[in-house]
Each structure stands twice: as C-alpha cells, then as structure tokens.
C-alpha cells in the first residue's frame, strides 16, 4: 500500500538522523560559543504578519476563527518580528541563533525540499561591515566545525547593480527587466537589454561585465569608475574580513543577488565543491525590523543543514 507524504517532504530514519543531529549540534555549539542565544518561534504564524517580510509562503491554512495562517518560509522574518515586539526599546546588540524547519515553494522536478532544516544566526544592532564581517567569519568557522574543509563564501552587495544603473543615469523603467535578468542568471538576456539602451561604450561594457566579476580583491580594482563609489562598502567589508583572517575563503562576487526581497546591502552565499547548489546564504536587512515597528540594523546567514550534511559526507569520503 502507498500512503504518500506531501511533495518536497521526507522522513528521516535513525542512521541519517544521527549524522544530521551531529552536524546540527556542531553548528549550534559554534553559534553558542560566539555568544548567540537560541530562539524558537511558532511554526505557524498569521499570514499577514509573515507577509510584512516575505509573501512567498508555500503552505497556507485556516484556523478555527477563519484566520489565514502560513508556515514560515525562513526564520529571519519571524525573528525580525520577535526583535521588534519583544525587544523594542533595547539599544544593545542582540545575537540570536536558531535551528528549525522552514517551508518554501520549489519546483517539483529539482529534487529540492519544500520542508528543510535551517540553522543560522541573526546579528541585530551592529551596522555596516563590522556586523557583516562577524557573521561571515562565524559562518565559515561553524562550517569548519561541522567537518567541511573546502567551503567558500561568496560576498556581494545586493544593491550594487541598482546603484550602478543610477550612477549611469539609465532610465528607471528599464531597471526591473535588467535586475530580473540578473536574478535569473540570464547573462545573454542582460547583454541584449543593455545593448538596447544605446549607452556609450564604457557604460555599456561596465553594465555587461560587472556582474561577471568574481574572485579575489582584484575584482574591486577592475570595477573602478562610476561603480567605484558603489563599491566602497564592499571594499570596507573585504578589509574587515582580511583583518579577521578569513579573506582566503571569500569570493567577492559583483553579480551576486539574492531573490528574497528584504536585503538592503551585503549578501552572502555559501558553496562547497561537493554540492551543486548553494549551502545557504544571507545578507544585511536594515529595513526589515523597522517594517515591524522598531528599526534596527541587522544581518544574518542560514545554512540548509541537509546540504551541509551532503558536503560533510563528501568531505569524509575524500579522506
């Protein structure tokens, strides 16, 4: 007999569970050692509250009052709510971490999970590169603690391309299409649309080539000119990462964008050569807590624990 479970969900049996738990524990102990306190939030929330941050809920349902509930699509939005409502007056820095299931809509065929275990950190009240460097450094050491050896982190600025378009005085009505190409990773479409703008040669080349720049600090030099000012924050962040001694694991990526709508600046994505998908990601979201009524600068990062497990298993196989 077949008793199906919903698409994108799965059962975890003892052999896998033991390993998954071990990884999760190692990630959480890294976070705890760095002074991050663990939180839980309800798995279901009111849809109208969650959609303040992100309206991509995969599952919606009604409660007995007829109110629309939704399963969270990540932990960042619920934590932003917690910070704004439970610590509204707090001036001090908050360091929070979590390990919890979240739910996303994904294509059926890609084998991605709709329900996935997310482990991550949120650093509230530390603005600019100082906060971002702390988050990146902790993410890298947590993955090392979980048994990874070859992991890298892509660091970019989600607002960079928009600022470049502004600096080059590109008509605003074309932003959506251009940024859409970037999000879809359609570099051919991007080039076609940039060509259609009829810009001067230098501006055209910059708009086409900048999103392709990724690598060490040399990419910051190569992207000088009108982008220079927009790159200042990234330059500062890179210096902070160098000072923390983690620059060799950092890939500066001027084309990096994350498709979640709440990022306002730096964005991160985690990679391991053994896994074809990103292990996780994050970024700075200085507006999000303010949308819940108590503005605070914040940034964070999250891992898909099951993907970290795949990378860790591959690492073990290498030895």
């Amino acid at each position: 007999m077949i008793h199906p479970i919903p698409a994108g969900t799965r059962d975890v049996l003892p052999d896998e569970m033991r390993e998954l738990r071990a990884i999760d524990e190692r990630l959480r102990s890294s976070f705890a050692d760095a002074g991050y306190g663990e939180v839980w939030t309800p798995m279901v929330e009111y849809e109208e509250v969650l959609s303040v941050g992100d309206d991509s809920a995969a599952y919606r349902m009604f409660d007995d009052q007829g109110k629309v509930l939704a399963l969270r699509s990540d932990m960042t939005v619920p934590i932003a709510r917690v910070v704004a409502t439970r610590f509204p007056e707090s001036e001090r820095e908050l360091r929070l971490c979590y390990s919890a299931h979240a739910y996303r809509t994904v294509g059926h065929r890609t084998g991605q999970q709709r329900e996935f275990l997310q482990s991550g950190i949120e650093l509230i009240g530390v603005p600019g590169p100082a906060g971002e460097a702390e988050v990146v450094t902790l993410a890298l050491s947590a993955l090392a603690n979980a048994g990874l050896a070859r992991h890298r982190i892509g660091v970019g600025d989600g607002a960079l391309y928009r600022r470049l378009l502004e600096a080059l005085e590109v008509p605003e009505d074309s932003y959506r299409e251009l940024l859409g190409c970037l999000t879809r990773r359609d570099m051919v479409g991007l080039e076609l649309r940039v060509d259609a703008l009829g810009l001067a040669r230098d501006a055209r080349d910059l708009l086409v080539e900048l999103p392709d720049l990724r690598g060490g600090p040399e990419v910051l030099e190569r992207a000088d000119g009108p982008a220079g000012e927009a790159l200042a924050r990234l330059r500062e962040l890179y210096a902070a990462l160098e000072a923390r001694g983690v620059a060799d694991r950092v890939i500066l990526d001027l084309g990096l964008v994350r498709d979640l709508g709440y990022y306002t600046g730096a964005v991160f994505e985690l990679y391991d050569p053994a896994v074809g998908f990103a292990l996780g990601g994050g970024g700075r979201y200085d507006d999000l807590i303010g949308r819940f009524g108590a503005p605070r600068p914040a940034c964070g990062i999250a891992f898909d624990v099951q993907r970290v497990h795949v990378a860790q298993a591959a690492e073990e196989g290498q030895r």
Binding site: R152, V188, Y271, V275
Partner: protein, 212 residues
C-alpha cells in the same frame, strides 16, 4: 584533468557537431567522442553526452560544470537554476506555430469553439505564446512527430521547432506565426561559476572570440 579543467555537458543530436567543433577550438580532444556514439562519459576529455533537454538538469545539479543546449530547452525549463552565459549562434531554429496548408482550422476553432487545439512538445512555450497573444488554447502534449497531429484532425495546429521548414512542408504544413528564434547557449552551474571562475571565464572568452 581535461584541457579546460571543467566537465562539459555536450548535447547529442543536431547541436553535437557544432559543439564538438567549438570544443576542438578550446583544445579539447574530441576524437573519441566523434568516433564512439554509444559511449556517454569521456573522462579524459571532460565530456559527458546526453540529449539536449537533459543538459540543464546535469548542469543544475553540478554533475557537469558547464553545458551547451538550445534556447528552446532553457525556455521550456525556466525553473532550472543555471547561468546562461553565451549565445553561441549556431543551431539556429525557429519556434513556430504551423497548420495544414491552406486550411484555417485554427481561426475557425477560435471563432466557433472559443479555443484553439495545439499539439506540441513545448507546452510552456506554447502556453505562454497563446496567453501573450490573447487566445485560449487547449494543449495536447505529444512526444514523437508532432506533424502527424493536425493531419489526423486531432488538433488545429502545432507549435514546434523548425530549422529549414522542410519536414513541415513534406507533411503539408505551413508556418503561420514565428514565436522565437533559438540558438545554442552556453550554461553553467551556479556553484562552479564561483568556485571555478577562472576556468569558466577562459572558456567564455575563447568562445566569444570563436563565435563573434
């Protein structure tokens, strides 16, 4: 390790010749691939061969770092998370709407029955095209020779890819609308795009030179 330092997904079928020619230009030894059409994996050359519609799948999962496939395949699988890096220009085909020559079954259907019936292998491209042009459509998904469908009266027309229009003409069909021109594209896995940036950029640069 292969000449490019990358694993490349190569499409079998119409795009294969042009793709292997390009790879020769990159210094990849394609002799074995050309001489053995049963083998699928060529470790030394860093090549895996497959049907074009599987290329985005292998590349998305990182089983191949980069790959070459038709734009038609990419349009039909928009949820695949891959970089589309380059229009390679060859393998030029047109995605078209075709019907039986001289008969207006499509117009007739639309007027009297409120919808057209279209057979296709490309259900997403077809659905989008008819939605964009404001016509209701009933899509019939077929796997084999689509040309047969309107001849039997099962449908009013077809959406299919055509290079020369020869097969359509031989089956008494004519092109009535052109949807999009499709050429071969270079795609890359998002993680490889970051971790093997230098290798991928070298390929992109060499191919840009070779195709422009």
């Amino acid at each position: 390790m292969s000449a490019t330092g990358l694993t490349i997904a190569v499409p079998r079928g119409a795009l294969m010749g042009g793709t292997l020619d390009l790879l020769d230009g990159l210094g990849v030894d394609t002799a074995e691939v050309r001489s053995n059409d049963r083998k699928l994996l060529f470790e030394e050359a860093g090549i895996v061969t497959m049907r074009p519609s599987d290329v985005p799948t292998y590349v998305e999962h990182g089983a191949a770092d980069i790959g070459i496939t038709g734009k038609d395949v990419l349009l039909e699988a928009p949820e695949r998370e891959v970089y589309e890096l380059l229009d390679l220009g060859y393998g030029r085909c047109e995605m078209v709407v075709a019907r039986r020559s001289g008969d207006d079954a499509m117009g007739e259907s639309l007027r009297r029955l409120g919808r057209v019936r279209i057979a296709t292998k490309y259900t997403r491209i077809a659905a989008e095209h008819f939605a964009r042009t404001g016509r209701q459509v009933e899509l019939v998904a077929v796997k084999g020779s689509v040309e047969l469908a309107p001849l039997t009266g099962m449908v009013d027309g077809i959406v299919d890819l055509t290079a020369t229009g020869k097969t359509l003409a031989e089956n008494g069909l004519e092109v009535v609308e052109e949807i999009v021109t499709c050429t071969a594209r270079l795609i890359a896995n998002p993680v490889a795009h970051k971790l093997k940036a230098a290798e991928i950029d070298a390929v992109v640069q060499a191919l840009r030179g070779a195709t422009s």
